[in-house]
């Protein structure tokens, strides 16, 4: 298949919240194109008459009763946050 463009790679990176150097853009352009080529090969399989599914297992309808359990302690909740402020996780303001 046709190679991805550098702009497409930058767009995908932006959606994934990644910041790439120009060298990385070039590297991923080749790698991602290779992955797409590989996935493309799946298209050769004849799926005539096969129902589409999002799942590979036969399991369905796994439900849980509406019973509250024990939550994490606040210390645990905040433990992995890059920045905290009092009882809260502190994050950068994002403008729409």
């Amino acid at each position: 298949m046709e190679s991805l463009t550098a702009d497409e790679v930058r767009y995908i990176a932006k959606l994934a919240n990644l910041y790439l150097t120009e060298d990385e853009v070039e590297m991923y352009r080749h790698q991602l194109t290779g992955i797409l080529d590989h996935v493309q090969s799946l298209q050769e399989i004849d799926t005539e008459g096969v129902e589409p599914t999002g799942h590979a297992t036969e399991v369905n309808t796994v439900l849980r009763d509406d019973e509250p359990g024990t939550p994490l302690e606040r210390d645990q909740v905040l433990a992995n946050a890059p920045s905290t402020s009092g009882e809260f996780i502190r994050v950068r303001t994002v403008l729409d």
């Binding site: 799942h55 439900l63 019973e67 606040r74 992995n80 009882e87 502190r90 994050v91 994002v94």
Partner: protein, 498 residues
């Protein structure tokens, strides 16, 4: 001049009042919890955690679907909606994309212009964490404080077809939907609290044409009055833009309640690319017919059905019946009052129902508003006490003015009307013997008014009547007083003419 019409579709997010979250078991009662105290590994998006669907949330979703006349999917699935925002810890929201749990329903708009609004879909998803923005000090950039408690609270998104035509339609739709959610008991549907949020897709077109104009999404409307103002503003803005030859851009605009305007938030060129795909952590959900039938059987009588029944059974006006049935508690209070009210002939029963409606929609609604009470059954006045009061006013033992005085005391103290009437020596005076001195006194003290009456100005009797009511502290039976005054004045007139 071209006449325009607005074409509006709504997307409403309704929080469910389940005890636990949509996909994990920490408490969903975030309104009353201290920050970051009802968080579990799933809602915190820790790696390796597994979301498991809350059965009650699915049942609530099905009930909402049934109440809106939707088809219920026999198989439904969840999908990942991916975008980056600090309040979304996983980097994706578990939602439903192409196989929503409910689809193709409708909601009837009440009022003078009844109409059917088609419901496109109802789907299940999860709420996000809550951010509180903090402004930076001079020159420094601000930041936000995040409380994860709300992350994972069950959220239903209800999407209409573009069947609404005005701000009034939008308000009627919202009120009806809120009412249905509360009747079902699946949520509080409170806009101010954020348990009911609404975004509007608005476009305008010349009236009579079929092609849709470019639509603009309006967000950030946090109360019903803001919705009405924002929709009105946006319709007018678009019409003005078209008339001045401006191009309408497909974009998202935010309502600013302070300035009373919508402002651009995001244009289509930079619109989100959500890259939905099936949520691999949650297997598909099969919904059997028996399950749906069971839930159908659990549905309460809904506001529209109840309204129709109150109109049919008690001859209420559409307006009265709509106000009474807008909340389940008020409708129940009304019917309980009727049930304990006096038995009588059909006519007096209808009259009693009408009076009860007047009290509920008038004085009681007013006092509930003053005292900020939402639930009439939480007030001090019980249906039986109200029924007694109304019966006394109908039997003319009290006039309507004294009735209100007695009611205010009942409202404050919860006392029975009989006790208040006795203690205060209230009660209507319609005994001619008791009224006669006051009537004579009024005639004796107000020669000018009497002269006016005798001179042909019959309205002067109203003034005299006011004097009698004042002298009897408002307790006299007004029609009786009027009759007595007229008789006495007519006698004077006849005597003067001789």
């Amino acid at each position: 001049m071209t006449e325009y019409e607005a074409v509006i579709g709504l997307e409403t997010h309704v929080q469910l009042n389940t005890k636990s979250k949509m996909f994990s078991n920490s408490s969903a009662e975030y309104q009353s919890a201290d920050p970051n105290t009802i968080v579990d590994p799933v809602s915190l998006a820790l790696p390796g955690t597994l979301p498991v669907v809350n059965r009650k949330a699915v049942e609530s979703a099905i009930k909402i679907g049934l109440a809106l006349g939707c088809q219920i999917a026999s198989v439904t699935k969840f999908d990942r909606k991916q975008y980056n925002y600090p309040d979304l810890l996983k980097g994706y929201q578990i939602s439903q994309f192409d196989e929503p749990i409910c689809f193709e329903g409708h909601l009837e708009l009440p009022g003078d212009n009844p109409r059917t609004v088609r419901i496109n879909r109802v789907h299940m998803e999860e709420d996000v964490a809550k951010l509180v923005h903090v402004d930076g000090l001079a020159g420094k950039s601000g930041y936000a404080l995040m409380d994860v408690n709300r992350a994972g609270v069950p959220l239903m998104e209800i999407v209409t077809e573009p069947d609404l035509r005005s701000a009034e339609d939008v308000v009627a739709y919202i009120e009806s939907l809120q009412s249905i959610i509360r009747y079902l008991g699946v949520g509080t549907a409170n806009m101010e609290e954020g348990s009911f949020r609404c975004d509007a897709n608005i476009s305008v077109r010349p009236k009579g044409t079929e092609t849709l104009g470019t639509k603009v999404e309006v967000k950030n409307m946090n109360r019903i009055s803001a919705v009405a103002r924002a929709v009105t503003y946006e319709i007018e803005r678009q019409i003005r833009a078209i008339e001045t030859g401006e191009r309408i851009v497909q974009e998202t605009r935010g309502w600013n309640d302070g300035t009373g305007k919508t402002v651009v938030q995001r244009s289509k060129e930079e619109a989100n690319d959500y890259r939905y795909f099936p949520e691999p952590d949650i297997p598909p959900l099969e919904i059997g017919r028996e399950w749906v039938d069971e839930l159908q059987a659990e549905l309460p009588e809904l506001p529209a059905q109840r309204k129709a029944r109150l109109i049919a059974d008690f001859g209420l006006s559409e307006y009265d019946a709509r106000l009474i049935t807008s909340t389940r508690t008020t409708a129940e209070y009304f019917e309980e009052t009727i049930a304990v009210g006096p038995t009588g002939n059909a006519e007096s029963r209808l009259q009693f129902a009408k009076e009860t409606a007047n009290w509920l929609n008038g004085e009681i609604a007013r006092l509930m508003n003053v005292d900020s009470i939402n639930d009439v059954s939480a007030t001090k006045v019980k249906p039986l006490s109200l029924a007694n009061l109304i019966a006394r006013v109908m039997k003319r033992e009290l006039n309507s003015n004294t009735g209100k005085q007695v009611f205010e005391e009942m409202w404050k103290t919860g006392a029975e009307p009989e006790a208040i009437i006795e203690e205060r020596g209230l009660g209507m005076v319609s005994d001619t013997g008791a009224l006669e001195p006051a009537v004579d006194q009024a005639i004796a003290d107000n020669a000018a008014a009497v002269k006016d009456y005798l001179g042909g100005k019959e309205t002067a009797v109203r003034f005299l009547m006011g004097q009698v009511m004042k002298a009897t502290k408002g307790q006299a039976d007004p029609p009786m007083v009027l009759k007595m005054l007229r008789e006495k004045l007519e006698t004077l007139k006849a005597n003067a003419g001789e």
